[in-house]
Symmetry: C2
Subunit: 353 residues, 2 copies
């Protein structure tokens, strides 16, 4: 098969980790007889520097024409301390989500047996954890009307959801639950918010279409607790944009494998795959960043965007092998043992595929 992949390396360590994901993807493509064309495009701080905006129209064109987008990370310290600056890298992210219609952010949290002791949680709390959040990504308070009144003394942000927005996200949740253990948790704050009541009634009305799925409804504050206490009691969780932002990040650190967690954002047009970690500016150019989350995001891309399960499994298998054999960057290397460079990890994976 032939694929055209938009390559949005972004800022900081983005280009370094993307580079390794490209190496591994090309090796997989060769092995399985596929042909990949990579089309690089600018986004984030580097796009602001080059053309003045964080998600240029040319980049959007490249993404729209591609079969998938592979994304690194964006953000640069020079924009960090001023969230009210007129142009910021995050705006590019939000614009990209909206223009590509990426309404569902798929965020798995799972454990690697060899890394379980890195978790801040006790082994017996985290063992067996394998959950997936579906976070709504193009609605809610992120995209509602916002502004100031009373000469700047009053600020407001509007949170808005339509039934159709909830339905399309929930549909993905039910479908995902059907491929897993048929358990779905709808996370809301229906005891306080009207948007949450719309979420809850919409999901309740869909239950009859998926009679095999057991649905539970939990308040966001209760989930924030139980994620730390019994993360392995969850399977598929669906939630709105802001709750998803907070809870998926909370979930990401419990496994002890945050530097390895991939993600996908899917919706109306091209799907996007990216590591969940940030642009880690302090490490830029040092060839020390862990490329595995990006490489595992490429695996998700092969499986979900191209329907190539064997290719995805081959990537996951070689990543597991590298972890077991300790071919890891400094974030994962136990004290006293050798840490490999970003590019060395990629080379080892390619050689061992």
């Amino acid at each position: 098969m032939k694929f055209n992949i938009a390559l949005l390396a972004g800022d900081g360590i983005g280009p370094e980790v993307i580079n390794e994901a490209v190496k591994v993807s090309d090796a997989i493509a060769k092995k399985f007889n596929h042909e990949i064309t990579w089309t690089p495009a600018l986004t984030g701080a580097c796009a602001i520097d080059a053309v003045g905006v964080p998600y240029p129209d040319e980049t959007h064109e490249v993404c729209m024409k591609a079969d998938a987008v592979l994304f690194g990370a964006i953000g640069h310290p020079k924009y960090d301390n001023d969230p009210s600056a007129p142009v910021r890298p995050e705006q590019g992210l939000l614009l990209m989500r909206k223009k590509l219609g990426l309404f569902a952010n798929v965020r798995p949290t799972f454990t690697f047996p060899s890394l379980i002791d890195n978790s801040p949680l006790k082994r017996e709390r985290i063992e067996g954890t394998d959950l997936v959040f579906l976070r709504e990504l193009t609605g809610g308070i992120y995209f509602g009307e916002k502004g100031r009144r009373d000469g700047g003394e009053t600020a407001f942000d509007n949170c808005v959801y339509t039934r159709a927005e909830v339905q399309r996200l929930a549909k993905k949740g039910f479908e995902l639950a059907m491929t897993r253990s048929k358990k779905l948790c709808c996370v809301d704050k229906a005891n306080v918010l009207e948007t949450s009541r719309l979420w809850r009634e919409t999901v309740q009305a869909m239950e009859k279409d998926y009679p095999e799925v057991t649905v539970s409804y939990e308040f966001v504050d209760a989930v924030a607790m139980r994620l730390v206490q019994w993360p392995n009691s969850y399977d598929v969780l669906i939630t709105e944009n802001l709750f998803g932002d907070i809870l998926t990040d909370e979930a990401s650190v419990i496994s002890g494998s945050m530097g390895l967690m991939p993600s996908a954002s899917v919706g109306e047009h091209t799907s996007l795959y990216e590591p969940i970690h940030g642009s880690y500016p302090q490490a830029t150019g040092l060839n020390i960043a862990n490329p595995l989350a990006t490489i595992l995001s490429a695996a998700m891309m092969f499986e979900d965007a191209f329907g190539l399960k064997d290719e995805a499994e081959a990537i996951r298998a070689v990543v597991n092998k590298s972890l077991e054999q300790g071919i890891v960057t400094e974030d994962l290397a136990p004290k006293g043992s050798k840490a490999y460079k970003t590019s060395e990890v990629g080379d080892w994976l390619v050689a061992n595929l």
Copy 2:
């Protein structure tokens, strides 16, 4: 001294834990020569059952006239599964907060050396944790305009903050930081929300009035992560209502002592003291609920509402002693050792004061 305390026992285990807090408070009053008058009043599901509303005007009158409010817990399963029912116990809670002007919810999280191994987190992650959240409690998306449009197909919730609302909460944060390690963390989502940008600019402008306090600004998603990774890196945190709801609950489970965490809500009129746990309906009437969070809330009341530090310390000391000697309810009793009843714990504390 003479005190008049409004006693809002509420639902479920509320009356049982409140009963023990009254016993201990009366014993302390006797020992230190104070006189307490308790004025019981209805709130929650029991108020709905009795008079049709969850926070009756008579209850409000009692609270307004009191020197402090001691609160148990509210909520009953018959209201749980229908967040859109017209009258619900939580509405009483929100109305009470608003009418009493309780704009700051003070939520400490700390560890008890004897309970540290109950934490889901590893000992080295949690040891030394001693943080306090100040959650804004009468503004934000909880109290903004909410409703439906398009024949019910679109729902909205408005999040609104004024500079004055941020200032009065932040002032309490700076003042609290001055009595502790002079570190203040402002938690917001200023990269996305206009209300968060108002929070940030308001707190930034106040920094000059507290030159000794070191202020950091962190995004809510990052805090949700670091609370699990390095809870002991925090001291005083201030945040808006919804973020506070999620993060204080997350923080409450990390110490392993959730059943022991007290809280205060303070503001324009009478201050209120309550355990952070819920009404635990399954345990109602069984005399098994842990009364310590309520008793420690009474200690906060003596110290903060009445300025009686010795009295508060005496309560805390005897609570510590009971924990060390294993005079604990079943939630804390190690497997195989005796669990004490709710009332037995209270009796032991009174006898050992």
